[in-house]
Amino acid sequence: MIQLKVNGVARSFDGDPEMPLLWYLRDILGLTGTKFGCGIALCGACTVHKNGEALRACITPMSSLAGAEIRTIEDISANGLHPVQKMWMQFNVPQCGYCQSGQIMQAIALLKDKPKPTDQDIDDGMAANICRCGTYQRIRAAIKAAAEESA
């Protein structure tokens, strides 16, 4: 039995300990905001926070999460009022939007580490998150604006 917290709610899991967090969130808890894109931590669509740090849910087995506090896109702000979400909307970042939960979770983690990110910081922090629609230019602008907003 693995005890953990997801979005502030205490949960216990007694399934296959090798099951990645992604499928626990999506199939068992029904938290579908976190996406499947590659299954091997190459695209970042499954990015969530573990104790405040960005984590790839698709390769993280449940066995490694005893006592962890997991936060998903659903817990950031239901109305999109987090500064990063607000800027995502102001800059019209999403096209198809599928990768954007992961991008937003990654950007929030980046801004926690680097409240005033340079272009290089953004490249380093966001390069593991793929957007196939190609919204990178707007992602960069939105991150910079969110940094201003939070300053």
Binding site: G33, K35, A45, P94, G97, I130, C131, C133, Y136, Q137
Partner: protein, 754 residues
């Protein structure tokens, strides 16, 4: 209104509901804007006032607008309803968008070919204006005044002489009792538009930023089970024997189910294989790894993409089928003089949308309900009906949001898989492809070899021009004998080469397909524009001429291209409404030179800019790309400038985003887009072996300039990709002296000492 906007040129695909719209160049519009259906299939149908398929108004003033096209990021689910709302003079805050199921009553629903706006702009205007005219008449009758004295003012009808006002909700019941006018509807004049041309952000924006948006991957149906399918590793292969004993031991695995191989040609049939049915996605994936299957790999088991490449190139060196001819290029070449030849090559490309193929289906009481991220719900209905032996009307295909499409999700093989499995399992089934499945079992953009030849005069201007392309055609998925390009793909930057050259010949050679070939964002324009626009740049440099000035000279004076004697479908649009005007291509070329500072900016060593111009999907685009290449051969793309003439642009901000995205898509194609095969098996599988551009590799700044125009609207989703790639490669030549004739760039060492 005519039910068919353009008649098919080739009959053999007819009946594959919308399957080959892009292939055929034929788009079906809905049969007259008839009264909303009494069966109430949408909220618009069920609303108090529902004058036609696309709009409904309730007594509380809520306006329902049906989006019948699929949303994959182009914001079409917002843009077309925005047109209805504008002509209705409705308050956007009171609009609810209804996503249509697949239903032939809407006309064509295959969201591809960059044609949603141009095909449905007039239909949407008519739909909104019809409702508006009924509301005006209802108000006039209530007030006992002539309708001509009334007008609308954002969600209300007003009578200025008496300052009376009634909201749309208050008028819905009275208006619903009026006959629906079928003619004489007055449309707004462009100066009266509230939204058209100004644009609207995505209706789904908040949901997209909060994880609430529902994609195909997110569908959950009561009692559903999860399936993962081991497909035959080689297209056309089949199961010889299977041992599923270990798979069945995996916790959560319920059963395995065989799916029959397709009967050639593949079309949109399931590929076949063994499905593992489980309680969750992970268990299905794990069970699948434990399957022991012996395969009969079938006739494509000898396919080797390196060998195939040599065959294509050899074919391209020999005379092919002439698809356009003017003057006598051959006799000019035979006279000798300055003749240049070059060969170009673009490999197979995968779509790799962020959401892999996925679909959910429930077979119950002889009927099938599907929930799918599909660009083409009517084709899903058709293939499901065929696979299950039921009527198309007994297939309901709900359309979710799409996590990217790029053409892949026009082919509903994965939806058919879910349907077949649900019938066999007796429960709702969700089929989830892995990324590896997605890349290995794509309908790939065709591999192509191009042979170019030009004889030039003393100033370097071509006096004769020959271009020959060879690629396995998309039609091969519908016709096992197809080896030549069809007019719908030869038109894409090939038979319409716009150059002012007296002796010009365009040819196409045969190539058999060994994988499923399919349309991908921009399709044949990708390889054709690469060859034509790179060869043009090569000739300019050989002649010591400025590439922009040289390109303009080749385009020649402003004129309308004459396609007599050429089978040129013009993307399904008639040439009268959408003529091919070289003046517009010149214009975007001249403006992009100016905007990019062409000839005025200085570049250091390892840096430079390149240009290309191309018309596709009826839109004229010129691109200038700036590149920096390090001594180690790493590429950076600091800046891209696009000038776009897409006729009237309905949603400018969204349009700019499409071109920004096209530059990134083009970067992926150019840098690393390559699918290869050995023994019929695709060698790539995930983003490690099929890399796509990341934020640090993508263009840093893409500027998009839209030409103001009141010409009929044209496409914006695809036209940004074709000129981008040659412009990038032409810039690399300036920066490094290395001429790129083969994609992807990862095949060429761009480092200083290589």
């Amino acid at each position: 209104m005519s039910p068919i906007s353009n008649v098919s040129r080739r009959g053999f695909l007819q009946g594959l509901a919308g399957a080959g719209a892009l292939v055929l160049g034929a788009y079906y519009l809905p049969k007259a804007l008839r009264h909303g259906d009494a069966s109430g299939r949408t909220d618009a149908d069920r609303a108090t006032l529902h004058p036609n398929l696309f709009v409904g108004i309730d007594t509380d003033g809520t306006v329902y607008i049906v989006a019948h096209r699929s949303e994959m990021g182009t914001v079409i689910r917002t843009t077309l309803p925005m047109v209805v709302a504008d002509e209705l003079d409705a308050d956007w805050k009171r609009i609810k968008i209804d996503q249509a199921i697949g239903d032939a009553r809407y006309g064509d629903q295959n969201t591809d070919g960059s044609h949603s706006v141009r095909s449905f702009f007039d239909v949407m205007r008519q739909a909104g204006a019809t409702a508006r005219s009924m509301l005006i008449l209802a108000a006039a009758q209530k007030w006992g005044v002539p309708p001509a004295e009334c007008r609308t003012d954002l969600h209300a009808v007003v009578h200025p002489p008496t300052s009376r006002r009634l909201g749309y909700g208050e008028l819905a019941t009275a208006a619903s009792k009026l006959p629906v006018p079928s003619a004489g509807i007055r449309l707004k004049t462009p100066d009266q538009w509230r939204y058209i041309g100004k644009g609207m952000t995505s209706y789904d924006l908040t949901e997209l930023c909060t994880g609430k948006a529902v994609y195909g991957e997110d569908v959950r149906v009561n009692g559903m089970v999860y399936a993962s399918i081991e497909h035959p590793p080689v297209i056309g292969g089949k199961v010889k024997s299977v041992d599923d004993s270990e798979a069945l031991k995996v916790a959560g695995v319920r059963e395995t189910v065989p799916i029959d191989p397709f009967k050639p040609p593949p079309g949109f049939q399931p590929l076949g294989g063994i499905a593992v049915i489980a309680d969750n996605t992970w268990a299905a994936f794990q069970g699948r790894k434990k399957l022991k299957i012996e395969w009969d790999n079938g006739p494509n088991a000898t396919y080797d993409s390196d060998e195939y490449k040599k065959e294509l190139q050899a074919t391209a060196r020999n005379a092919g089928k002439i698809v356009r001819n003017q003057g006598d290029a051959e006799s000019v070449f035979s006279k000798g003089g300055k003749v240049f030849e070059a060969e170009y090559y673009v490999p197979l490309l995968a779509h790799a949308p962020m959401e892999p193929m996925v679909a959910t289906a429930e077979f119950k009481d002889g009927k099938l309900t599907a929930w799918a991220p599909t660009q083409n719900p009517q084709a899903a209905q058709a293939i499901i009906a065929q696979e299950l032996g039921i009527a198309k009307e007994d297939v309901i295909c709900n359309v979710t949001l799409l996590g990217g499409g790029f053409g892949r999700k026009s082919k509903p093989d994965y939806v058919a898989e879910a349907a077949v499995l649900s019938k066999k399992v007796g429960r709702p089934v969700k089929v989830a492809w892995t990324r590896e499945d997605d890349i290995k079992f794509d309908y790939f953009n065709a591999v192509a070899a191009m042979h170019m030849k030009a004889a030039v005069d003393a100033k370097g201007k071509p006096t004769a021009w020959l271009q020959r392309s060879v690629f396995p055609p998309i039609t091969s998925i519908f016709d096992v004998n197809a080896v030549y390009g069809d007019p719908g793909h030869l038109q894409q930057g090939w038979t319409d080469v716009p150059y002012d050259i007296p002796n010009l010949r365009v040819e196409n050679g045969p190539a058999p397909a060994h994988v499923r070939i399919g349309w991908l964002r921009s399709v044949a324009n990708i390889y054709h524009a690469f060859a034509v626009q790179t060869f043009t740049d090569e000739l300019a440099h050989r002649a010591g001429r400025d590439p922009v000035e040289y390109l303009l000279e080749l385009i020649g004076p402003p004129r309308t291209l004459n396609f007599s004697g050429v089978d040129y479908p013009n993307y399904g649009a008639d040439l009268h409404t959408y003529p091919w005007e070289t003046g517009r291509l010149r214009h975007v070329t001249e403006i992009v030179a100016e905007k990019s500072g062409w000839g005025k900016r200085k570049f250091g060593k390892g840096s430079g800019i390149g240009i290309a111009a191309h018309r596709s999907f009826l839109t004229y685009v010129a691109a200038v790309v700036e590149v920096e290449v390090s001594d180690q051969g790493d590429i950076k793309i600091p800046r891209v400038d696009y000038v776009v003439d897409a006729g009237r642009v309905l949603n400018p901000e969204v349009t700019r985003a499409q071109f920004e995205g096209a530059a990134v898509f083009g970067t992926s194609v150019a840098r690393s887009g390559e699918i290869t095969a050995k023994n019929g098996v695709i060698e790539q599988s995930n983003f490690d072996t099929y890399p796509v551009a990341r934020i640090n590799e993508a263009p840093y700044q893409t500027n998009v300039y839209l030409v103001e125009s009141d010409a009929p609207p044209a496409g914006v989703g695809e036209p940004g990709v074709p000129p981008y790639i040659p412009a990038l490669c032409n810039a690399i030549f300036v920066a490094t002296g290395k001429r790129i004739r083969e994609l992807p760039l990862s095949r060429t060492s761009l480092g200083k000492n290589s």
